[in-house]
């Protein structure tokens, strides 16, 4: 599988994502600078975690209008896979590639914690390697992870099975305990927890491995 990681100024999980992708897929991803306008031909694009543009104004807002984003949208429109992790999820909502918004955590503090995550849908390209309703342990580390959408949107997400991950213990006040959602077509997913940080048994588990290997099998 070929992949690319977009590097925004202030991204800081770009290396973590690259290490995880190389470890699991065997290929090092392309690292693409946000000012570029072309994407290499890849199967998966990752918008990594971090504090792009310092999280100033709103998390993900400035990145969402970066030059590379047109190519990222085209990649998604072509049905290829796109995932946003943490800050990447915030970018996806700001770019309107996923509905809703990520607000300040209900407790107002940054929260770094390994949380139980429930796999709410195991039929997506990202979660086929998990079993529905199984509980995996994945760290979160964010300040703005409190998922908000209006009632109609929530109803739609639930009705269409688009809530992919739910918190077992909600760390941030997200509505419906939402930790990750997918678009209607099933190729664009955003989640706040960091699967790329749990792909090595020495570092607190491998519960993130199926996330990446599922996509690899899907392509």
């Amino acid at each position: 599988m070929k992949s690319a990681v977009i590097v925004f100024p202030g991204s800081n999980c770009d290396r973590d994502a690259a290490v995880a992708l190389e470890r699991i897929t065997g290929n090092a991803p392309h690292m693409v600078w946000h000012k570029d306008t072309d994407l290499p031909e890849v199967d998966l694009v990752v918008l990594p975690g971090g504090f792009s543009f310092g999280d100033y104004l709103r998390s993900g807002a400035m990145s969402a209008s970066s030059p590379i984003m047109a190519a990222v949208k085209a990649h998604a429109d072509a049905g290829r896979y796109l995932v946003g992790i943490c800050n990447g999820f915030q970018v996806l909502t700001e770019a309107h590639l996923l509905p809703g918004a990520l607000m300040r955590n209900a407790g107002l503090n940054f929260v770094c914690r390994t949380v139980p995550l429930i796999v709410a849908n195991d039929e997506t390209a990202f979660t086929r390697g998990y079993k529905k309703d199984s509980i995996i342990k994945v760290p979160v580390a964010h300040h703005d992870g409190n998922y908000f959408a209006d009632d109609a949107t929530l109803e739609m997400l639930e009705g269409e099975g688009r809530v992919v991950f739910r918190y077992g213990e909600n760390p941030n006040g997200s509505l419906h305990d939402i930790a990750g959602i997918i678009n209607k077509r099933g190729n664009v997913l955003g989640l706040m927890p960091h699967p790329e940080r749990v792909v090595d048994p020495m570092l607190g588990g491998e519960d993130g491995v199926p996330f990446f290997s599922s996509v690899m099998e899907a392509v």
Binding site: N12, F51, G54, N109, R113, G204
Partner: protein, 742 residues
Amino acid sequence: MTSTVEATKDTMSEITPEIVAEHGLTEDEYALIVKRLNREPNLTELGIFSVMWSEHCSYKSSRFWLAKLPTKGPQVIQGPGENAGVVDLGDGDAAVFKMESHNHPSFIEPYQGAATGVGGIMRDVFTMGARPVANMNALRFGAPEHAKTRHLVAGVVSGIGGYGNCMGVPTIGGETNFDPRYNGNILVNAMTVGLARTDKIFYSAAKGVGNPVVYVGSKTGRDGIHGATMASAEFDDDSDEKRPTVQVGDPFTEKLLLEACLELMNEDAIIAIQDMGAAGLTSSSVEMADKGGVGIKLDLDQVPQREESMTAYEMMLSESQERMLMVLQPGREDVARKIFEKWGLDFAIIGITTDTGHLTLSHGGEIVCDIPIAPLADDAPKYERPWVASKQQDVIEASEVKAPETLSSALECLMGTPDLCSRRWIWEQYDYTVMADTMQIPGGDAGVVRVHGTQKGLAVTTDVTPRYCEADPREGGMQAVAETWRNLTATGAKPLAITDCLNFGNPERPEIMGQFVGCIEGMAEACKALDYPVVSGNVSLYNETNGQGILPTPAIGGIGLIEDVSRMATLAFKDEGDVILLLGKTIGHLGQSLYQRHIDGDVKGAPPPVNLDKERKIGDFVRTLITNGTATAVHDVSDGGIAVAIAEMAMASGLGAKLATPSEVEAPHGFWFGEDQARYIVTVKCDDAHKVITHILEAGIKVNRLGLVGGNSLDIEGDAPISVEKLKATHEAWLPAYMSTN
């Protein structure tokens, strides 16, 4: 252009004794300046002298004593004197690290003060070519009941997180204390460890004449002017007046600066590089020139400025953050400019190195400063301040301290005190897993990060027990070093070197100076005995309000190397049936213990004595038990004694233990809560126990078999058992409850 400073003098306000005093200089110091210059300085020059000769920059009260610390060893690549210390990790890897205080700014504006402290220490590390891989923070707050404490804790913690998290550097540990002696002067000490290649380390000595001096990073504003002199002044009740000197941190810009600097360091372009920290442009340019033995000429009109009509004085004294000064190879300016522009940062050539030995500044077409560099740096005043030794305290026998109703009730009480409760509320606000190399998260003996792409681990800890330092500065200084050594050892790491942050009261008072001297002597002795040199550090004096000094707090930051992270120890119990051993001798020393403080009600007496030979022998032995795979869990014994150590091992695992007090013990509370040094709790598999005990005894080390891991409560024979769950609930409760009340 006029060529002498004399010509501009009459446009400057005359230097009055009041102006001299406002700059924190004594009359004698001013007289010395006039003598060295052979004339009166103008205001800009006076400002420059005042920051360079401040306690913060010149270490005038401490230099004499700092020289007593051992700084050498085969592992040391760079000792004190550079932006940070450097030690060898083998295979071409080096660790670059330092700790620094941001006490006064954090008291005035906790969020920004702490944030810019973290930003500053990270710059010290990446200036040397290292990518920061771990942050630590050592915090001291006033009494929980004090009106300001909660607000300060909230602000400091979110400031540290706000900066470190944005930089993408994991914060993997620290320490936190509360004591009324910090009511008016909190301590915020931040430490950063970075990784570099031994052949790619960058230094600050400006070499060569005619080389371009380059400014990069953020623009200069009127931030923190006189921050460095403020950091050296005592507080009084109208210190609110000093507020505008607070700087606002911009971690996003610093992240860009980090990436841009590391990118440029891959090119052959930098001769010297120095961050602009305290005293900004002044200290960076003077220090670079002084170390390289050259002069420097700056054209202040070229300095990127955020505000209009800034004066030379303001530009030289501004402490705007996120800036660096570099001397480049001539001809490489464009390579550098391109990189900084890519990252959206200011880049300006603002000067040139010269052969004059002078710092020469021009502004608006006039020379506004022309002073020899040597007196600014090397010839700064150095004081051997008078000191008196602290009074020796009597040793208190355990039998003189009242026994608790039950050991378990005392333990439960202790685990819920501000001194021993869980710091989770703090460290969950820090991203400790970013960079995906964190092997031990906060909550253990030391934080551990893997050296990226290798099997090596870097263990990091910070420690000091201020109440011991006050009761006996020398023992306290030794103990602080020994405890870091022990915490590193408990993970299986070989301790390599330390950095320090020496926080004390007003050195002009002989008792305070006596504490300083005692602590340094104790530290020096421990460093020598443990082959554990000091490679960097920082001194923060005048932590005093209305004549009340803080507890003497020489915070020590230690780092150690784990050769193979698959052979690392953690403190959590592993399996039912494992045998719990105590290594090291227990007398039951309760003087200055937390038991005394919380159960008996009064802290007094001598602190536990430190025996460095034993410390080393037992630690080395424990490390082999870890590296040969025999130890299943390890934890050192410190605050709260054996009972607390075992409780921490139980809570981390959810497993309980069946324990018994050794038959020869006369005062069980002394045994379980005494804070005797050089001890570890080690668990081993039941089958190995006999053999291990024999080996320990053969090595001449005292060992007690305390019991077995198992069940879900801590159960000391003859005492009331207590469930691990209950202990954990108590342990986790205090801090979040405290922080959520108003």
